[in-house]
């Protein structure tokens, strides 16, 4: 049984190469969202708009298929890959009709397994049940970048309306840490929400920064489903505050 031994050895070597450091977010105390760049997103010219897609919700899954996902998940006797499949197959049926979904998996390479479209939940479910691993590398940053581009293209087609979510299931290991950090921090200036279902992430990880991203435990599908059902309070329902002095002070500063 040499194959498993070689496989395991390669896995350890590979994992060792993949774990040089935690991709850490740039520390900032600024709590301001740059609304100018937020409203300008995506910073590309529209060539066509699908008027029927205005307001559409979009969700791209970015799924880690690297070798490290074969190790046991934290707080579980199952492998992270098995937990991922459970989480996805539990979560997918809750995705509201009309939501455009896409699916990218990555290891050494990344693949757009399911293009971002509506009415392809069955395709998504089939992709989610793929338990094949891919040893050799973990290009998480590149995969997120491509997933984000899929959302940008959708935004161009729907005048930036609707919602844009990246649902990332990973153990956080990345060969391309710099790209990952740069990509995520860039995304965090836009309407794209990064929702990471992770396996015991360090709170310093760029995908687990409460100020900018949503993080849930990958094996807690209830939290994932709750995210889908959450609504955001929008306008003030009444004019009840007296802040005229404050406003005048702000205006004169």
């Amino acid at each position: 049984m040499k194959y498993p031994l070689i496989f395991s050895t390669l896995a350890v070597l590979s994992l060792a190469a993949c774990l040089p450091e935690t991709p850490t977010a740039t520390v900032t105390k600024d709590t301001t969202v740059d609304l100018t760049s937020f409203h300008a997103w995506p910073n590309r010219e529209s060539t066509t708009v699908d008027v029927n897609a205005i307001g559409r919700d979009n969700m791209v899954f970015v799924i880690d298929r690297s070798g490290s996902m074969d190790w046991d998940a934290c707080e579980s006797n199952n492998s992270k890959r098995a937990e991922t499949i459970t989480a996805l197959t539990t979560f997918i049926p809750y995705i509201p009709d009309g939501t455009a979904v896409g699916y990218i998996d990555f290891g050494t390479n990344y693949r757009i397994t399911v293009p971002l479209e509506t009415n392809n939940t069955a395709q998504l479910m089939a992709a989610a049940q793929n338990d094949a691993g891919e040893w050799g590398g973990t290009n998480l940053g590149a995969a997120i970048q491509v997933a984000n581009e899929m959302l940008e293209t959708a935004a161009l087609e729907q005048s930036s309306t609707g919602t844009y979510r990246l649902v990332i299931i990973t153990d956080g290991v990345a060969d391309d840490s710099r790209k990952l950090v740069a990509t995520v921090e860039s995304i965090n200036q836009t309407p794209v929400e990064i929702i990471t279902a992770g396996f015991c992430f360090d709170s310093a990880h760029v995908l687990n920064t409460p100020e900018d991203t949503v993080y849930v435990q990958a094996n807690n599908t209830d939290d994932l489903v709750a995210l889908l059902e959450s609504t955001v309070k929008t306008e003030a329902t009444g004019f009840v505050v007296d802040f005229a002095d404050t406003v005048l002070t702000d205006a004169t500063e």
Binding site: Y164, E193, E235, V247
Partner: protein, 586 residues
């Protein structure tokens, strides 16, 4: 159609009608605003049998159909008129006074006028039952007339203090009346102040072109396409621009035939044959012109053999058409009505039809002091269902004018570039309450009536439906302490979620307002609307009425400001010349 490219091509190929003359140091002769009747010399006479019909045409591409129907200036037996056993002699007569003389004396029982001119002509025709006008046929709506302004005029409201040149009794009368009315100008005061300068001719010497080139007091002039191109693109008047064109205000200059009442009553079948032959000839001519725009866009404009033959005939008939290619460009200036357009034109409740447009024109002409009193002009009342034999297109359903996706992409790009305001002609804000998503016609009826009117008149303009949301909730969540509120400040991701949610709310609002408007137009006004004319622009909180303070929305300082932020703005925007957003032309 690639109108922008076509315009560029026209610049390159069309010899401007007026530009060949240098009017720079040669002031035009202005003429007085006098009633048409004071210049008409013929008395009303009875109409004879008219074995050969004398049929006037004017220098307008819609009139190509009349020439084509006749096979030339005299009737070709194989032409449509020939097949209907109509013998006609066609002649060009651009002068309305001379047309009035010919009509009264029955040198011809026909008058070829715009509906604005019909109202002017009414002063001399409607007093005698025999000479009263009966409308029989509509050629087209014009898309080839323009209000060119100098650089001191920035928007339509500036026209109220401007001095404007236009042709007396010309085709632009209704165009001018509508624009000045929409701009809210006191037209009587403008006339009294001498702000409306009248000239004798449409092009060439003593034309509006001549006036704006040579008279420094003239701020604006109503001109035809070749003159517009010379003025604006050719730089004859530096920094001049088209403020409004009939490409946007596309349902205001309606070119029609009227016939004397006595002749109509005595020759109803013959007049009906004339009309039906025009429908058939028009459809055939339009078919030959299919693909014309694409051919004209080539580096070297090209025509099919059919187009060349048909347009050569026009060049031989109209002095204003030097050759077939220029005739082709000219044809594209007309929004040809055909049978479907004539059927809807005859509907009394259609505000852009014969009756509806006449009512609008009357009001504006009276305000301008160009008409002594309103006239109700008759329509032939054809049974159009009996006139369909041989026609391919009898579908009277309103066809989409715009490629909705292309319009939305254009507007999205302009929004990001901050250039959306540049083509604005008019805007109409409507207001609502917090988180309101529904717009009842009962609540907004007055606004909706006005919007339907504008949408129909400005049928070639885009209407953006721009949703806005109030930022107070966003600002309070971001910094509760600033507003004397308890609680933790929202995280950045919560702020982004809320900003995006407000954008979506604004999109929902805009969509709902548009849908309510279209429903109101359809259900209450029975008005035919083109949904592709409307495009949704979701602003969210990027352009609050309260403005932007240090990169974020300014908080409303009081309840009135708070309510001002919650609005949907309908904006009527002229399509940029370079934009390719139309489904088809002509």
């Amino acid at each position: 159609m690639m109108r922008g490219l076509l315009l560029a091509a026209v610049v390159a190929t069309v010899l401007p009608m007026s530009a060949s003359a240098d009017f720079t140091d040669n002031a035009p002769s202005y003429v007085d605003n006098v009633p048409l009747g004071s210049l008409v010399t013929s008395a009303a006479q009875a109409c004879g049998p008219q074995a050969t019909l004398q049929v006037p045409v004017i220098d307008w591409s819609g009139d190509f159909v009349t020439v084509y129907a006749n096979g030339g200036t005299t009737t070709d037996p194989d032409s449509m008129f020939g097949l209907f056993e109509i013998d006609a002699n066609i002649y060009v007569q651009n002068n309305l006074v001379q047309q009035a003389n010919d009509f009264l004396s029955c040198a011809t029982p026909f008058a070829r006028v715009t509906q604005g001119q019909a109202q002017l002509l009414a002063e001399v025709t409607e007093g005698t039952p025999e000479t009263q006008m009966v409308a029989i046929y509509k050629h087209s709506f014009s898309q080839g007339d323009h209000l060119v302004v100098k650089d001191n005029i920035n928007d339509v409201t500036d026209l109220c203090s401007a001095t404007i040149a236009t042709m007396r009794f010309g085709p632009h009368t209704s165009f001018m009346g509508r624009i000045l009315s929409d701009a809210g100008c006191d037209m009587a005061a403008m006339q009294a102040n001498g702000q409306i300068k009248l000239v004798e001719n449409l092009t060439g010497e003593n034309s509006p072109f001549h006036a704006i080139v040579s008279d420094p007091e003239i701020d604006a002039a109503f001109v035809v396409t070749p003159d517009m191109l010379a003025l604006v693109d050719g730089g004859v008047v530096p920094d001049s621009k088209v403020l409004v064109s009939t490409k946007s205000l596309s349902r205001v200059i309606s070119d029609v035939y009227v016939v004397r009442r006595d002749f109509f009553l005595a020759n109803r079948d013959r007049v009906q044959d004339f009309t039906q032959a025009m429908f058939l000839a028009g459809e055939e001519f339009q078919g030959k012109m299919s693909g014309l725009a694409q051919g004209l866009m080539q580096d070297t404009p090209s025509l099919t053999i059919d187009q060349q033959v048909a347009l050569d005939l026009m060049a031989a008939t109209f002095d204003s058409v030097p050759d077939a290619v220029e005739g082709g460009f000219f044809w594209l200036d007309a929004d040809f009505s055909g049978y479907p357009g004539n059927v809807s034109w005859a509907v009394e409740t259609n505000p852009r039809g014969w009756l509806g447009l006449n009512n609008e024109v009357q009001v504006n002409l009276a305000a301008l002091g160009l008409s002594d009193r309103p006239y109700t002009l008759a329509h032939a009342g054809w049974d159009y269902s009996a006139m369909t034999e041989g026609l391919q297109n009898t579908n009277v359903t309103e066809q989409p004018v715009f490629n909705a996706s292309a319009v939305a992409a254009l507007v999205s790009t302009q929004q990001k570039q901050g250039t959306l305001d540049s083509g604005e002609l008019f805007s109409f804000p409507i207001y609502f309450g917090p988180d309101q998503n529904e717009f009842s016609a009962a609540q907004y009826e007055e606004d909706f009536r006005a919007l339907v009117d504008y949408a129909q008149a400005y049928g070639g303009a885009i209407i953006t439906v721009e949703g806005h949301a109030d930022p107070l909730g966003f600002l309070m969540a971001k910094d509760p302490a600033r507003f004397n509120q308890a609680g933790e400040p929202a995280s950045r991701i919560e702020q982004r979620q809320q900003a995006q949610s407000l954008r979506n709310l604004s999109a929902t609002r805009a969509t709902s307002a548009r849908d309510s408007l279209l429903e109101f137009a359809n259900d209450v006004l029975k008005a035919s609307m083109d949904p592709t004319q409307f495009t949704i622009v979701p602003h969210g909180i990027d352009s609050p009425a309260t403005g932007i303070c240090n990169g974020e929305p300014c908080a409303p300082a009081n309840e009135a400001e708070w309510r001002e932020n919650m609005r949907v703005v309908f904006r009527i925007i002229a399509v940029p010349t370079e934009a390719n957003v139309f489904v088809a032309a002509n």
